[in-house]
Amino acid sequence: MKFLKLSLLSILLTPALASAHGPTPLKFDLEIEVNASPDEVWAVVNNLCSVKDWNESITECSSTGEGLGAFRELTLDNGEVLKEEVTKVQADRKRMLTTLKVEEGRVIKGMPIRSMGSFLSVAESSSGSKVKIRGTAYSSFEGKSPPPDRTDSVCKAAVEALHTKTLNGLKASFESK
């Protein structure tokens, strides 16, 4: 009877339709048109903490250094802090990579990822610039049955929401000038 109860419980606890997990990266691929020249946009995004001015989810930002090897610490509106490093800068292609690594065992509230690599790129387009944020993230949960608040889809949605706010805010900051 105890066994039956336990197995019923485990069935109830298994999130419906949640795909099982493996060592699989999550993909994000977002873009926006901005009414400004690529040079202008590139200059702004190179100021690592300028993101605080237009992303409403970011309440505080501090940075050390510039370009390759620079760090920034973003405080989110739920109090969580994300520490990112600039790990690649391709100025000729107006492309930079920031990477985020979360300490072993730490689970970021609302965005339960273990690591993320985000490429931000700026290219010329008919409306001025096309800005892209694309890359990969990994869930912090290791095992085949994550709890419902730590699934791949929760991670992907959270990462996409943050980057979408960055892109939308960036666009608005130029267009309100």
Partner: protein, 318 residues
Amino acid sequence: MDSRFKDFLYVLAFWALANSALAQNLAFITNQLENTVSVINTANKSVIKTIKVGIKPAGVVASFDNKYVYVSNPGNQEISIIDTNSLEVIKTIKVGQAPLAMTLSHDNKKLFIADWFMDTVFTVNTQSLKVENEFPVGDAPSGIAISNDDKILFVANKKDNAVLFVDSASGEILADIKVGKAPFGITPDYDKQRLYVVNVQSEDVYVIDIKMAKVINTFPVDTFPYIVSIDKTNNHLFVTNKRDSSVSVVDRTSFKEIKKIYVGEMPEGINIHPDGKSIYVANWFDGTVTVIDTKTLEVTDTIKTGEGSRAYGQFISR
């Protein structure tokens, strides 16, 4: 013309045709984000079929007799077995929690599967399709290869920053070799009795001498490297750099970089074609395969495959 001679010519022509059909190597590309395998006919570089497999397919290994292709699906913990003739999944095997990297004994009888979450290597008997052995390895086994006499397995353990030499029958650990940070792909070079181990986070390749069980050289590559493929004809090594969207071409003797070739976004799996004339690279982010000419070191073709093309392992039939 003498009619017997004519018959002989027909037979000859038929034989040549049959052989050319056999010689058409197929590439089996695992598409991790759409749960399929794209089959490329390498003779005309076109996708001839897309096969539904398990969930989040990643690893792949073609058998030495070219009859089967094994695909690991960490998403639903199973191996799909594809018949290379019918191009259908003929069987599936449930294994572990996250089967990823795989290698096969040279007689095709044993399939070794590294499980990412269980820190275990499973041995599957390819005739009975049963798991006949399992033994513990290091933390997060990411890459696996086998010695040419099938006696030793080489296992890269990503979180231990180490490569284990393991007796393939007993599971006994024979050597534990420190490498760079976060090793992933491991490629044996039998002619030189070496292993090439690619370290994702220290962004370099460690060269291990198999007999000495020792690191004999290291060389740097680019951002987030993944795995090596060997071109014996031109004495080159090709290394995919995932976050540089490039392939480093390195001299196989001096370990100096010769060229960097830009491919699709986030390249992962890489194989030399058995004819030695081209290299196939699976681009995870783009869902494409890039073909590189091994002589000119130029990109010759880009083939559309599926979302999340990973092709981790021996994906071209041999």
